[in-house]
């Protein structure tokens, strides 16, 4: 029986610059960039040399640890640059796009008849596999694993995030194909969280267990859904996907082509006209950033939402997993007596001369200032107010810091990924880097236990 998920603990961060429900066309990007840092833990092995011609959907490199897992080009063109860093580690791949796009075609898969092996092989070959993420460890799923269940959250609560009810409208056919296909990869269920009372493109689909989710952020994080429905135990594998990636997978099943185009929300207080753009993965952010206009000189471009995204630049590129680009002011300025004067223009979880509790629906224009210095953990009980999982957040963070494997396991590190700690990081009075701590903890755990 489907369970409803009602979250009480949490905090909605209302920011200025929500995207209007308008889709504009972005200028076609000349160069498309694949950023290897999007694929955590993947050691790439190149299939092409610099200067090679490549079709859209054609493999460029594969995962050294699992050669069948291929990563494909989003567009057709010439592989113009392989940028390498220290010890010749590949950082980015740049593809100069052709004017006339050609796409590598695979045989479409009839998801109702295909076996799980066929679907797995198709996803690996078509370049769709990296969309499937695995918990524990927050890495790309291992194709030989059999997951306990697949979780997808179609209820988005992150600040300024793209509204998938808008971006995925009319994509029901693709979504259905992707869900039906993925369902064959697990003997368990596909769980999808849908916002209570929302007009979701998922509500007309079938072949999964739907859960009505309500409550403040992080109710929309897939980690919250998993924890409330079927928490992960040691040794189990759970796969997660983002709704917007299902469209690409579904389209590949139906047409045999890898089409990396998606609706991207350009948001944030620095954007003059926040709205949606139809963009391909890897496109240069400036191709749509400046057509919306920026109203400040000193801004930060974030690939993703403001809580979990990665830092980028105007000449950076749209990340593999992102459907949001946030632009907010940099906060590299001092504030006179900022620590004791009453604060009206910032969000605070407390009421210590901070007044955001008076106006819970006000939209704030927050910048990247830390509003204080890094300190040891002092205050207790605050994280618990915004952390709905059945886990002790402070204790788990400390276990990760002193690298006690037993404690990390027992306190539930298998169940979380860094984004689950994005809100505790936001409210942290000691300004500790929670997501980095969890990431390092996960990497250590994976290295030691696997």
């Amino acid at each position: 029986m489907p369970t409803d998920v009602r979250i009480k603990k949490g905090l909605n961060i209302n920011l200025v610059g929500v995207a209007e429900a308008i889709t504009s066309k972005a200028v076609a990007s000349n160069v498309y960039t694949i950023n290897l840092s999007d694929f955590h833990g993947v050691t790439p092995k190149m299939l092409l040399k610099e200067g090679a011609e490549v079709k859209a959907g054609e493999p460029i490199f594969f995962n050294k640890a699992y050669p069948a897992m291929k990563f494909v080009s989003p567009v057709s063109g010439e592989l113009v640059e392989i940028e390498r860093g220290a010890r010749r580690r590949i950082l980015t791949l740049k593809i100069l796009a052709d004017k006339e796009q050609t796409t590598l075609e695979h045989t479409p898969v009839d998801v109702s008849k295909a076996t799980d092996d066929e679907i797995r092989a198709f996803l690996l070959e078509s370049g769709c596999w990296p969309f499937i993420m695995q918990r524990p460890y927050d890495v790309i799923a291992h194709p030989e694993d059999v997951p306990k269940a697949i979780f997808i959250s179609a209820y988005i609560t992150a600040p300024l995030a793209a509204d998938i009810n808008y971006t995925l409208k009319g994509k029901e056919k693709e979504l259905q194909a992707a869900i039906s296909g993925l369902a064959k990869l697990t003997p368990g269920k596909v769980h999808i969280g849908i916002g209570q009372g929302q007009d979701s493109p998922f509500s007309s689909l079938s072949g999964f267990e739907s859960h009505r989710v309500s409550g403040p952020h992080p109710a929309g994080l897939v980690g919250t859904l998993i924890n409330k429905i079927d928490p992960i135990n040691k040794g189990e594998r759970v796969w997660t996907l983002s709704p917007q990636d299902l469209v690409i997978i579904g389209e590949a099943f139906l047409t045999g082509k890898f089409n990396p185009e998606r609706l991207v929300a350009l948001v944030g207080s620095c954007v003059k006209k926040p709205r949606y753009y139809s963009v391909k993965i890897g496109a240069e952010i400036s191709t749509f950033l400046y057509s919306s206009g920026v109203n400040l000189k000193d801004f930060r471009v974030i690939n993703g939402n403001v809580l979990t995204g990665s830092r980028s630049r105007p000449d950076g590129s749209l990340g593999f997993y992102n459907n949001t680009v946030s632009v907010i002011p940099e906060g590299d300025d001092y504030e006179f007596f900022g620590w004791n004067k009453p604060v009206f223009d910032k969000i605070s979880p407390t009421r210590s001369l901070t007044f955001s509790w008076l106006q819970p629906n006000k939209k704030y224009d927050l910048d990247t200032n830390t509003n204080g210095e890094h300190r040891a953990f002092v205050v207790t009980g605050l994280y618990e107010e915004v952390f709905p999982l059945d886990i002790y957040p402070l204790q788990l963070l400390k276990a990760c810091m002193y690298k006690d494997l037993d404690e990390m396991e027992q306190l539930g590190l298998y169940e979380v990924i860094p984004e689950d700690f994005s809100l505790t990081e936001f409210v942290c009075i000691s300004k500790q880097p929670h997501q980095d701590i969890i990431r390092e903890g996960l990497d250590y755990l994976q290295k030691e236990i696997g």
């Binding site: 930060r300 990247t368 210095e373 300190r375 040891a376 002092v378 002790y392």
Partner: protein, 425 residues
């Protein structure tokens, strides 16, 4: 005005960069961040952060202590003059406007309390700065609250050199050896208090030290009493203070501990601003009431007679324990210290309850010194990690139990993984 401010800001910014890597950088940074919140931006993780930092949090506690400090000025003076009147045979009846809120009281209190505050902050912050410079870390805010608490929990006539020695001991042994703010096991302010109590017991207990001048006048014709209510009870003597006196704080005691009313207001302020844990405060009050009721019950059952040395304290109405002595102050400002207290919400209930419970117990049974709050809190500081351990264990056990039903599917391996190697370039 704004232009001048801008130049100060720029100048400080330049000095900050010039001092980078220098040993004195933490000391400068302490002043700099006091004036300006720094220009630090987020590097990873969440790109935005909430408005609160540790300075703001600590500042809230200090604000909650200011009324108590102001009250202590008046009460110090009032108790001194009232004791003189009482010794000369004309006991005073307190009246807020006529004989309490007077300049005479305030000035005497100010002259006596401020040196304690200055010594506490001066010596404590000096030690903090020295450690910050030696160890190369930032000067942390913990002492801002400790420094305010210390003068409020000592007897008014505590010699300043004694206080200075105790502060050095408390900051070094109570905090810095563990790694500074956030790492300490014992509440630093109470460590200082405990050091004073055990090193100089004659200055910290007895029937003289609680009113200014009582010690100095001992043995002279002008001798006055400096006894607290709990002290009188411990001697099975009567006391002549009304319940209202006790609640509003017109009674002798440590500098800032007397006014349960203002402490209550401070506590409500801290709960409202979400700085201090209401769980600890509520459960500590419940614990104190429970122990008080048990003692009242023992007396009611006739298990101890009036001859017992514990009779008066045990017979003291259970709820009045909350408004005399340091219990209220301890519960609101000391037990709620997040670093040394229990860190889990469930643990806080046990932690707080035991503090209240043990405080009243020690208060009644300690023959040498009828007060137990600081000992109870220090004891529970030591046990807080144990409490947390068992609370967290509950969560861990739930997880281990769940693990027995884990559904782990075997991997599918079909040897596909080799075929691509030849194409590698």
């Amino acid at each position: 005005m704004s232009e001048k401010r801008l130049t100060i800001k720029k100048r400080l910014h330049i000095i900050k960069h010039r001092l980078r890597g220098n040993k004195m950088a933490p000391a400068f940074s302490a002043f700099h961040t006091f004036l300006f919140t720094p220009d630090e931006t987020t590097h990873s993780g969440s790109h935005i952060r909430s408005a609160d930092d540790l300075k703001r949090t600590m500042n809230m506690v200090i604000m909650a202590l200011i009324p108590v400090l102001l009250f202590s000025f008046f009460n110090t003076g009032y108790q001194h003059f009232a004791a003189i009147d009482a010794a000369s045979g004309t006991p005073r009846v307190v009246s807020l406007w006529e004989n309490f809120l007077t300049w005479e009281n305030f000035w005497l209190g100010f002259k006596l309390v401020m040196p304690l505050v200055i010594i506490s902050y001066g010596v404590g912050l000096l030690v903090e700065f020295i450690f910050a410079v030696i160890k190369g870390h930032e000067v942390e805010e913990g002492y801002l609250v400790t420094g305010m608490l210390v003068p409020l929990i000592v007897p008014i006539d505590t010699p300043l050199w004694m206080l200075a020695v105790a502060v050095v001991f408390g900051v070094v042994i109570g905090k810095e050896v563990f790694g500074g703010t956030g790492m300490n096991i014992l509440n630093p302010a109470l460590t200082i208090r405990a050091f004073l109590f055990f090193a100089y017991p004659t200055w910290m207990s007895g029937d003289k030290v609680w009113v200014h001048g009582a010690v100095a006048r001992t043995g002279t014709p002008d001798a006055i009493s400096g006894e607290t209510i709990l002290g009188s009870l411990a001697q099975n003597n009567a006391y002549d203070y009304s319940t209202a006196d006790m609640f509003f704080g017109f009674i002798p005691g440590s500098v800032g501990e007397t006014s349960a009313f203002l402490i209550l207001l401070g506590g409500l302020f801290l709960i409202f601003s979400k700085i201090a844990s209401w769980r600890i405060m509520v459960s500590a009050v419940l614990g104190a009431l429970a122990m008080g009721l048990i003692f009242n019950g023992v007396v009611d059952m006739g298990w101890i007679g009036e001859g017992s040395s514990f009779y008066s304290l045990m017979n003291f109405e259970f709820w009045k324990h909350l408004i005399v002595g340091g219990l209220a102050f301890g519960i609101v400002y000391m037990a709620t210290d997040p670093v040394t207290g229990s860190q889990t919400n469930r643990g806080k209930w046990f932690y707080g309850f035991l503090i209240g419970f043990l405080s009243v117990m020690i208060r009644v049974f300690n023959p040498a010194y009828p007060e137990g709050v600081f000992l109870a809190i220090l004891l529970m500081n030591v046990f807080a990690p144990t409490i947390d351990h068992y609370v967290v264990r509950g969560n861990v056990n739930r997880r281990l139990k769940r693990m027995k039903a884990a559904t782990i599917y075997p991997k599918i391996t079909d040897g596909k993984s080799e075929e691509l190697k030849a194409e590698t370039v």
